[in-house]
Symmetry: D2
Subunit: 347 residues, 4 copies
């Protein structure tokens, strides 16, 4: 496998880390050669994740030992703050980076600092970061050294909106409203009471209404396309007892006489990972379980002027690790679908 | 127990039927004396529902054998069409009726016929039916012979709106939007592929966007209080993998300077089954599991004029059997909380 | 309510604590007057557990402030080690104690110390502790000052065995085998990766085969009744993705010609909380959800000499808080079923 | 793709059918060219299973229209009775068959007729059927025209036993006991009350103790290897609320001084889909979710002579469609792992 690119994963003990490992196991042009974790250094990945027994012969290493500078690409699957600190040195050594954390997603530094509660220390690097929503920035991703992989909510919310915003079709007389529902894996694999089986199971609730960190990220995308449409944007996340899956239900006024279904179909006709479903469809999260797909349907509310945009993704795939691999494919000239062709797991 | 009122339940093999049996088992003033089911006639209820072993010594009977006319109150826990056919004769014999089906909820007969797809045959009886949303119609329920128990979505959606609509506070420049999520038991206990464990489990989806039967019921309530607010009302139901539980997230513009939290708190200060939570709360469905409570919270969306109304109920209790017992309590002069005091089951 | 007994709960922030609060809310003869938690001192219980809003007007206090010595009965719902340290002083002050932890369950101190990994410091108190398996020790519980409430597995495993062991019917040519499955709430409400929704959900596994702390507790009960039957006893616990519920499947050889169904039925004919189901039944955990019941069924394996004993409990009720209240009822001369009469929550 | 073998699937609307489609979508040497369903004839498979949108351009056809005789291999994913009726004609036309139903699993016709309740009508064909437990019959599968794909329980139970039985290591002084737990998808995708989300969810129970159809299938495998070990074999299936997954816990006496871990490791060292885990491991069902793997661990019960064999499979993969593809690979000389290399989906 001498001609495969070498991949490093920083912070591979979480859900996005193990998902990267799962997806990259079948990639024809990439090979994971280094995985890091301070807490699990020395532990074999197959002992930590028995699902990977027989697939990987790798152990976690500390970042210092791992030789990340010899990789062609490093994924950061870390809490915020880590990539900001460690990515610049890798970039200098010629390693390209896809950051799955939030560090390089927000272009306005004061906004980032307000929402993430720490000083931002990589202003220069930020300037070259490309926001890795593949369907929006495919061209600039090709040559990017540093890609900021989008959040799960921003991916699920933005994809149905992009074509409409690009044509300035959103009527701002009514605020855009995004009512979103996330599976529990979005909260990560850290010990916490709120995501225990007996707390999150058989339960449904809203959370973070006062302000979720994905709100400024979504607004940044919206306002770049149709500036006035971000004003008054309403975003309410909810937690639903599924392991993987995210569903956005958006309410929007559009310019009269537009046909949003046709506009979306046209916009995404060459995008292998966005599926605009027939009018009247209701996408379900399990139809994308384990796959790098966003399915979208547009419906008009009965006896109303409001359009309803429905979209689903697997928050760990198109909402995280899958989109990261898609970004890698674009960056390195692989087929955009390489390693991402497995069908969703249903049931 | 000679002085307890005698209760009959028509169609007691479904989830609302078994829930009525669970709740009435502890009621100090009522005794279930007849339960009917054509398909299970002759079967002991404790063989059918092992959870009721040791609690009831009753067998299902056909409606003809059951002697329903000797009851003081009969609950209909049946598909639509049955109460419309059978309730009038019982009323004539002096039996009072609480109908958990949709037959007597809609006052406009053509609307009912359009949504339920059959001719309505009890026009005279309909005139005396009282819509059993207890907190709205408590006074008229007291003397009602026939109460139409509300649907689960209409209960969950209407309770946060009632106080605002009564004061004409809804600003109709933006349509009212109700994004609702229901647990699977709302679909009933009939064999169906769509509600199998492997279809509804680990999955989230919208459904019925083109038109759910609860839409005209909700609009009827809204328009009676603030006529213009029902226009353009948007209702999107979703299915979430919880057994019991319903969550409504509503988006509304209100008149400037009003304080919806205080208005709701004041309106419901004497309602034992509506809990207006402190500002900033996010009610969760499990906090009402098994209990006849609607918890409500009001929040302002950040950087927006939109108010968010959150409400949760157990769809089988305040959304069905519990509210039916509450109606019975009001009709017969029991304490409104009789038989309904058990705490929610958490976890 | 001046003549109600006063109840204190030490460690009321866990699942057994909130379950005690739920059950005692409806008890006619007892009133919770003090709840303690060091970490949550000062927090109102209804802010901590929103399911209790409107039911309790109590705040957590430190054990020192709580005035536990003024209670008639104190429940310890704490990790092991706490009751051993704090119960003796309360007993001296005339307070009776039901300990839901493991401190006083094992009579042999070296065994306890081996399994719980700390020195046992209350040897004198241990002598008076009564093992609170109500159906076994009802008489001695009546006058006990200190009751050691049994573990969930020991309750579920022991109840089907008791009648057989008492008659020396277990044929020890084959070891007794208990294959047990527990819902996740048995692991408590502490932050831990292993019981996250995304780890324990949609998953099934065995655990603790090398030795679970409930093994010596079960063996103690068995050997007291039929000494040789404890030898070689096999106990394998599993984790199943239900919130509440425990199921034991036991395999046993019995003396020829005995009828275990009749023996169990006779033994438990006056026990309100043990339900011996008809031959051929298969009890399910949800048939006891939220209720203080153990349902048992006995079946002969086809073409085999092995008897299969099936039993189910709600691990938080008959396996913890419900049995604790049952013990309280016996200790204080209440009706054994007081406060424990609510029907299981189904579905 | 002219040189790919042509595949037909009879009865492709169920869970094993859609799983075959998922797995075969990535197979390098096979192409699905015909799928049949009487009830859904004319419906596009991607409209029926939205998870397959963009992957298959095929519609269901009636068996008569489908041209199955032009296939190289036909999978039967049908209820019992169909393959028995239709496979012989296909075999005569040179089409090879893998039957996922039970029709050709049992060699003794009276036994089959007793358990499946219908006359067996393909006695001649039965003689050439090879029982498709790949790890047992790999050689004879290579040349088989007709493979009877094993049931899920028989696969999960037999794999840990095979090496021990082949060496006559099972001590028959104690009966072999298999306590098994299945996810709900094992019951198939038919409308039924018992497998509704609200019936099977948050619930655990045994079922079919009086006799499950997989019992004679398991006994046939056992007795062929070590005749006396099948006598008195005890099999208790349970239903656990997971979608995919099966767990067997077996209790067995072995000849003294044998090391079952080493025996299993040696036996399976060349089997890519059986993973013998290190001593002390406890396999979990999610570690094989979506993958064609059986993971096994062996442990000695503490203070006992009993060995505990733990094994997990995904009942739809190694327990059904995956093993069927593995059989196809062996039959057609593909690499045994072709199309079966995707990593398990975790979480």
């Amino acid at each position: 496998m001498a001609n495969r690119i070498k991949i490093g994963i920083v912070g591979a003990t979480g859900y996005t880390g193990v998902e990267l490992l799962r997806l990259l196991a079948l990639h024809p042009g990439a090979e994971v050669t280094a995985i890091t974790s301070r807490s699990e250094a020395g532990v074999h990945v197959a002992d930590y994740f028995p699902s990977l027994r027989g697939i990987y012969d790798l152990a976690f290493q500390t970042p210092e030992e791992a030789g990340l500078e010899q990789c062609d690409l490093v994924f950061f699957a870390t809490p915020h703050g880590v990539a900001m600190r460690d990515a610049p040195a890798l970039l200098e050594q010629g390693v390209r980076v896809v950051d799955l954390s939030a560090d390089f997603r927000i272009k306005d530094i004061p906004t980032w600092e307000q929402w993430y509660g720490m000083p931002f220390t990589a202003a220069e690097t930020l300037q070259e970061a490309v926001y890795g929503l593949c369907e929006l920035n495919r061209e600039s991703i090709k040559t990017a050294r540093l890609v900021a992989n989008p959040g799960c909510y921003p991916t699920c919310v933005s994809l149905p909106l992009l074509p409409l915003l690009q044509h300035n079709l959103v009527n701002t007389g009514m605020p855009l409203i995004a009512d979103c529902k996330s599976g529990v894996s979005g909260a990560g694999r850290k010990a916490a009471v709120g995501t225990l089986f007996c707390e999150a199971g058989d339960n449904f609730k809203a959370y973070g209404i006062g302000g979720h960190r994905h709100l400024p990220e979504i607004k940044q995308t919206i306002s770049a396309l149709q500036a006035d449409a971000a004003k008054g944007f309403v975003f309410v996340p909810h937690l639903t007892p599924v392991i993987r899956g995210m569903h956005a239900t958006q309410y929007v006024h559009l310019q009269a006489d537009c046909n949003p279904h046709d506009i979306l179909s046209s916009f995404y006709r060459n995008s292998p990972f966005v599926d605009v479903m027939p009018p009247g469809s209701t996408p379900e999260t399990r139809s994308v379980r384990g796959a790098n797909i966003c399915r979208i349907s547009v419906q008009k509310a009965p006896q109303s002027d409001v359009w309803i945009l429905l979209s689903v993704i697997d928050n760990l795939v198109k909402g995280a690790a899958g989109q990261a691999v898609q970004n890698m494919n674009i960056m390195f000239g692989f087929d955009e679908t390489a390693g991402l062709q497995t069908a969703p797991l249903l049931p």
